[in-house]
């Protein structure tokens, strides 16, 4: 009726089995990808860059001259599309599984928690590249075909900012069940409102860092003044590494009970 479970072969296979080491696990990444696009939320990932591209086309067609180009790429691209794509992608691969408890199937495996976080982050990074950085490049080219520097600068800045946001939202996802709300509040209040009002916040603002990196490449009128690109890059790297480590550390102590 049923096959024997305790075949010696499988026991041997388990002892000698490999593939659980390393920092990236393709199965975790594949599951994350399926989880992201298996839910309705995934559609938003396509909508955001489409709005950016549509606006770029509209401006190009309707408005003579191109003074508005950096404004659009900054206000809609770096400030809105980049953090939102990062938020949707990261919470989609991490937060939703933690919410419904299915993450337990990933955690009940001999995988390092850092591997799980990094594998999932790679999916989110890919989304930032495809749905934020590339659209920024294309929108930049649509607006200023004559100045490819502009699109490239925003694409690179957007990528740097997007990756940073991803790691921050990954940490938020393992920290709280309300990662989406926390992420939105952070983007709107800290990055948006306070970042515009209080000058000092720029030093702690992902969007300002990505703007500084963009400035370095576009060589146009600066989006952000008085911030060296070295500082921006260093801050970006520190946050990416730090938040990734914190997320994996927190995931290691993940408590799970059905009663709660």
């Amino acid at each position: 009726m049923t096959a024997p479970v305790n075949a010696d072969v499988t026991r041997a296979a388990r002892r000698t089995g490999t593939g659980t080491g390393g920092l990236v696990n393709t199965t975790v990444a594949w599951l994350g990808l399926r989880s992201l696009f298996g839910r309705r939320r995934g559609i938003l990932l396509f909508a955001l860059p489409l709005v950016l591209l549509a606006l770029a086309v509209l401006v190009r067609v309707l408005i003579e001259g191109s003074a508005a180009a950096p404004d659009i790429l900054y206000q809609l691209g770096l400030v809105v599309v980049v953090p939102l794509v990062a938020l949707i992608a990261t919470t989609g691969v991490l937060s939703s599984e933690i919410d419904d408890g299915s993450v337990v199937y990933l955690l009940a495996k001999p995988l390092s928690r850092l591997t799980i976080v990094i594998s999932k982050l790679l999916v989110a990074f890919g989304c930032v590249l495809v749905f934020a950085a590339v659209p920024l490049l294309v929108a930049g080219l649509i607006l200023r075909w004559d100045l490819p520097r502009l699109g490239i600068g925003f694409a690179v800045g957007g990528l740097a900012g997007g990756l940073t946001y991803c790691t921050l939202f990954a940490f938020a996802s393992v920290l709280t069940r309300h990662a989406v709300v926390v992420g939105l509040v952070y983007v709107l209040i800290w990055e948006g409102l306070l970042g515009g009002l209080l000058d000092g916040i720029r030093w702690l603002s992902v969007t300002w860092w990505s703007a500084a990196i963009t400035d370095e490449i576009t060589e146009g009128p600066p989006l952000v003044e008085k911030m060296g690109v070295t500082y921006a890059i260093a801050a970006t790297v520190v946050v990416i590494i730090g938040a990734t480590w914190l997320a994996s550390h927190k995931l290691r102590g993940y408590s799970y009970t059905a009663d709660e």
Partner: protein, 304 residues
């Protein structure tokens, strides 16, 4: 051969004590974790699965602490209670992914073997979203078996299963146990537990109330005084006659009608009652236990 050891383990959430100073040893064979809902069974399983840190005490697998140690999952297969699964995958994809995550050498073969064990090969091509509760339970089971673990922890595995699936799972657990695996499952139904488990651990309100083989637990539960309300055509005659039975300790007439009987021996009383009624020619309308609810059985166990 693997042994899970809980040594004076307590776990609390704020002011709520979920598990209270529990020490138990779960060895090879099938062990049933029996207790009413909310007794702390899931908390205990989470502690044994490394998904919860004990507030006090230690939980070890063959001497190794379980908390914050992902290597233990080479030896542990966990079947969690919640339904949440990867609904958009097929059963086969899900089980295969689990095999890959465990890093078994031939994940495809391991996955198929696990699916065959739970008899899900035919339905493996369908997405999990289309599965019934019993099928989900079985696919979860397959995912926990792919790496051939020496320890299997199942949280309320019989929930939502139809009788045929239930028998099949019981058979499967028995076989796992006789293979020398350490199998622990939780349930709030005594009949379910005693059909499968050699060893039963009873938990009530976070405390370890009783421990032993099913015979010992069964005796503890049935030898206690049982109370029944009997409604009949002639309560007074029936009461008088019942008092003459050795298995009856007390009889009283209830104001609202009916006889309340306290029996010391459930088996003898259940044979005596119909005989007495027949001899008297008194017709019985209703016999109902007044305290048969599982909670009262358990609270009796805790008190004893």
């Amino acid at each position: 051969m693997s042994t899970i050891q809980l040594d004076h383990v307590s776990r609390w959430y704020g002011n709520v004590v979920a598990v209270n100073d529990v020490s138990m040893t779960i060895g090879p064979g099938v062990t049933g974790l029996l207790g009413p809902n909310g007794a702390g069974k899931s908390t205990l399983i989470a502690l044994m699965a490394g998904f919860l840190a004990p507030s006090v005490g230690t939980v070890t697998l063959d001497g190794t602490p379980l908390w914050r140690n992902e290597q233990i999952y080479r030896d542990i297969g966990l079947v969690p209670e919640p339904e949440a699964l990867f609904d958009y995958l097929t059963g086969r994809q899900f089980v295969l992914a689990n095999a890959r995550l465990h890093g078994v050498r031939d994940p495809g073969a391991a996955g198929e073997r696990a699916l065959a064990v739970v008899e899900m090969t035919d339905a493996a091509g369908r997405t999990i979203a289309t599965y019934s509760k019993g099928m989900r339970q079985r696919v979860k089971m397959a995912s926990a078996l792919v790496h051939d673990p020496s320890v299997l922890l199942l949280d309320e595995p019989f929930n939502g299963m139809d009788p045929r699936q239930r028998l099949h799972l019981m058979d499967l657990l028995r076989r796992m146990g006789s293979d020398g695996r350490t199998v622990l499952f939780s349930s709030h139904i005594l009949e379910e537990v005693e059909q499968v488990a050699r060893q039963i651990e009873v938990v009530v309100a976070g405390r370890h109330a009783a421990s032993g083989d099913f015979g010992a637990i069964r005796r503890l539960m049935t030898d206690r005084p049982n109370r029944y309300v009997v409604r009949s055509a002639d309560d007074r005659s029936l009461a008088r006659a019942l008092m003459g039975e050795g298995s009856v300790r007390a009889v009283s007439l209830r104001a609202e009608g009916g006889v309340e009987v306290e029996a010391t021996d459930f088996g003898r009383f259940s044979a005596a009652l119909p005989r007495v009624a027949r001899d008297l020619g008194v017709r019985l309308f209703e016999v109902s236990p007044t305290d048969e609810s599982l909670e009262s059985v358990f609270s009796y166990l805790v008190a004893s």
